[in-house]
């Protein structure tokens, strides 16, 4: 690819991103401030951020991560710890407040500004990502998947049983299956405090800003030296190593970056939902996010965005609102919402068998598939 083509490709991405985001930003102005469409779109935005994060680990670096929910959990619990009454006894019941909103700054417990919380979430999940990555460095392929799955389950166990882990003076690590709620609403400098009871649109615009930011970082990372190193180890680890790609550093950075996106999204979703409940962090959620990037196209940024929006739409609208009544109409007695994970499992299976490159494949992968260039052992490559 010549430099000019690359430039053109980049500017096309830029134009596409600007057009999509602008249209999305205008849309809620025509809707009710509390429209359920906006509500679903906010969730979808958060899922896009998570899917883009997982795409770095699985799509770019080719490391199958089945425990991605761990980072969602850690991000969400960061908000739950630093913006709630969870640690009420701290500082003799007076609490610690850093740039918190007017209301929150009078409450006991830890109350930090949302931006600070996002920063803390990035640090915590980034470190956790590297920590989870460390044991997998000597392993390859399917063993990585199982180790990450094990980590995800261990974090889930801590979330569920955390209400019995006493830190001090009756403050527990998590709320277990009892949600930690309410959490402080988002209060950004220069804007009036967000309030999900009266207007959802600020949350939506914030979600869009996060998506735009993460998209930008994703494109820049993909075209950077680091991004090329990720793709190189995905294609052939041994060859990449012998070409001077530092495996340990490159893999750990993939884990850390992917995890940090999960943390950002988790912190945001927790603030939006104003509650963090351990049952949100089951293994099925990892598969839900994985299904997004597989359906969209592993490694393809726009494909992943599409996949995330599509599956989020299926999960929050299509299954509960449209299809849920179908079983009872044809005389069967069950709710389709119970089977949502089965449906996602089916989607994964169908896409993987029939169209392994996903709906919007990455150009490099399309080339590999059609011309047989650079056939290596990456995920999602078609039958040869």
């Amino acid at each position: 690819m010549t430099a000019l083509q690359a430039r053109l490709g980049q500017s096309r991405n830029l134009v596409a991103a600007v057009v999509c985001l602008t249209l999305a930003a205008i849309a809620p102005l025509f809707l009710d401030p509390l429209s359920s469409i906006t509500d679903n779109a906010i969730t979808a935005g958060a899922y896009v951020v998570m899917a883009l994060g997982l795409n770095i680990v699985v799509g770019f670096a080719g490391l199958l991560d089945l425990g991605y929910v761990a980072f969602y959990a850690l991000g969400a619990y960061t908000t739950a710890w630093f913006a709630s009454l969870q640690f009420a006894p701290i500082n003799h019941g007076k609490g610690i407040h850093i740039l918190a909103g007017d209301f929150a700054s009078k409450l006991p417990g830890l109350h930090f500004n949302f931006l600070l919380i996002v920063f803390i979430a990035v640090v915590i999940t980034g470190i956790a990502g590297m920590f989870i990555g460390l044991p997998t460095l000597r392993l390859r392929g399917d063993y990585i998947a199982i180790v990450t799955l094990a980590f995800g389950e261990i974090i889930y166990r801590f979330a569920v049983n955390g209400d019995r882990i006493n830190l001090a003076k009756g403050a527990t690590l998590t709320g277990g299956r009892q949600a930690i709620a309410p959490l402080d609403s988002i209060d950004l400098p220069g804007l009036s405090p967000f309030d999900s009871a009266t207007d959802l649109r600020p949350f939506f615009w914030l979600a869009l800003v996060l998506v735009a930011l993460v998209l930008f970082v994703n494109f820049r990372l993909r075209d950077s030296r680091l991004g090329r190193a990720w793709i190189a180890i995905r294609e052939d680890e041994v060859a990449a190593a012998s070409m001077g790609v530092p495996l340990v550093k490159t893999k750990l950075l993939a884990y850390a970056t992917g995890a940090a996106f999960g943390g950002i999204s988790g912190a945001f979703l927790a603030s939006y939902q104003s509650a963090v409940n351990a049952d949100q962090f089951q293994f099925g959620f990892s598969i839900f996010i994985l299904a997004m990037i597989i359906v969209g196209g592993l490694g393809s940024i726009w494909g992943v965005v599409f996949g995330a929006v599509l599956l989020s739409f299926i999960n929050t609208y299509l299954i509960p609102n449209v299809l849920n009544n179908i079983p009872s109409k044809i005389g069967l007695d069950f709710d389709l919402t119970q089977l949502s994970f089965g449906i996602f499992g089916f989607l994964i299976l169908i896409v993987m068998v029939l169209r392994p490159q996903g709906l919007f494949p990455e150009r490099r992968r399309t080339l590999e598939l059609t011309e047989g260039v650079g056939a290596g052992d990456s995920i999602g490559e078609a039958r040869r």
Binding site: A145, F151, E237
Partner: protein, 355 residues
């Protein structure tokens, strides 16, 4: 494992530090495994003056472990032959329990059934469940793995995860999303004998009575029969085996059939043992059994049985001493430790992937 293991230059195997490292790698896992029972034995002795509590844990652990061993054999057989973690295997075990439960209804087995009817009925249930699960495992292979056989290794793993979710939802449709209790046909918790304060229950006897013959039959089949030889040949080198006239497709299907049949047997035993059935039982049992397979050395039949028994004991000890809520975390912590420090397992040989 290629390339990333650093061997210090000029340090021969006779170097003391090197020998130490080798010993740590060889016996470290055993030390880690023995640490918890040893600690509990000492604390039991000092608190109660005898070991009956630990003994009871170990008896229940061994019989639970026998069920895990049956499931782990399925993982190990399949991994040995096509290097795939059959993620849906735990769900095959779960469906096995469901099928067995359904068959009880069909045969009219209940608490009122006499001993003879019970033995005949359960034996028939066992056979049919094994056949159903074996055939289902083969079908999973045909649908989800066979089309991806030449694709990169992670592709079938992803479809396996997808299939496992589909089967879980079949379970939800079948019996709902909460655990259903089933009649305690064999009075699983009735005592058989008590020795030094250690009680053996009927369920323990049953688990071993089903597992031991099946494991013996399987090992005999794999080591003695012509098809078993074909399986071992395919595991060693599929291409060479094909050139020698082994039908690879049949052999792989046969492997899935055997693994599924064992999982079905485990499903029935679990049903009798735990007297409940739940769509989610396969997920945790599958992962615990996979841990067992890895612990023993994946691809190694004796290793899977040994790993199953050890994991069963760990699970029981954790259930009673740490709390059942933490058991999954404890088992997974072991899994990670094994993966990191001894990925070839206790008695496995170094595989291509994790040596």
């Amino acid at each position: 494992m290629s390339g990333t293991q650093v061997v210090p230059e000029g340090a021969g195997a006779t170097h003391p530090a090197d020998r130490l490292r080798e010993a740590a790698s060889r016996y470290g896992l055993i030390v880690v495994l023995a640490a918890m029972p040893a600690y509990l034995a000492i604390s039991d002795l000092t608190t109660y003056g005898d070991l009956s509590r630990l003994g009871n844990n170990l008896v229940a652990g061994l019989s639970n472990g026998a069920i895990y061993a049956l499931i782990a054999l399925g993982y190990t057989l399949v991994y040995g032959i096509i290097e795939l973690i059959n993620f849906a295997h735990g769900e095959v075990f779960m469906i096995g329990s469901f099928v067995a439960f359904g068959l009880w209804g069909t045969f009219g087995l209940g608490l009122a059934t006499g001993p003879l009817g019970l033995v005949v009925g359960l034996f028939a249930t066992l056979l049919i469940t094994m056949v159903v699960c074996g055939v289902m495992n083969v079908m999973i292979e045909q649908v989800a793995y066979k089309p991806l056989r030449s694709a990169p290794k992670l592709a079938p793993l992803i479809t396996a995860v997808g299939f496992s979710f589909i089967l879980q939802n079949v379970g939800i449709l079948w019996l709902g999303s909460s655990p259903a209790s089933v009649p305690d046909l064999i009075h699983a918790q009735a005592d058989v004998l008590t020795l030094f304060g250690v009680t053996v229950h009927r369920a323990d006897v049953l688990a071993l009575a089903v597992t031991v013959p099946l494991v013996l039959a399987l090992t005999t089949f794999v080591t003695r029969s012509r098809l078993g030889k074909a399986m071992r040949a395919t595991a060693q080198d599929p291409e060479a085996a094909r050139l020698m006239g082994v039908n690879i497709n049949t052999t792989i299907s046969l492997t899935f059939l055997l693994g599924g049949a064992l999982a079905g047997a485990a499903g029935l035993v679990n049903l009798l043992y735990q007297t409940n059935v739940w769509y989610f039982q396969g997920f945790s049992a599958g992962l615990i059994a996979f841990t067992a397979a890895v612990m023993g050395g994946i691809g190694n039949l004796r290793g899977a049985v040994l790993g199953g028994l050890i994991i069963g004991c760990i699970q029981q000890i954790s259930d009673y001493r740490i709390g059942a809520d933490w058991t999954v975390a404890v088992v997974f912590a072991y899994l990670i430790l094994i993966m990191v420090f001894r990925p070839q397992g206790l008695i496995g040989e170094a595989t291509r992937e994790a040596g």
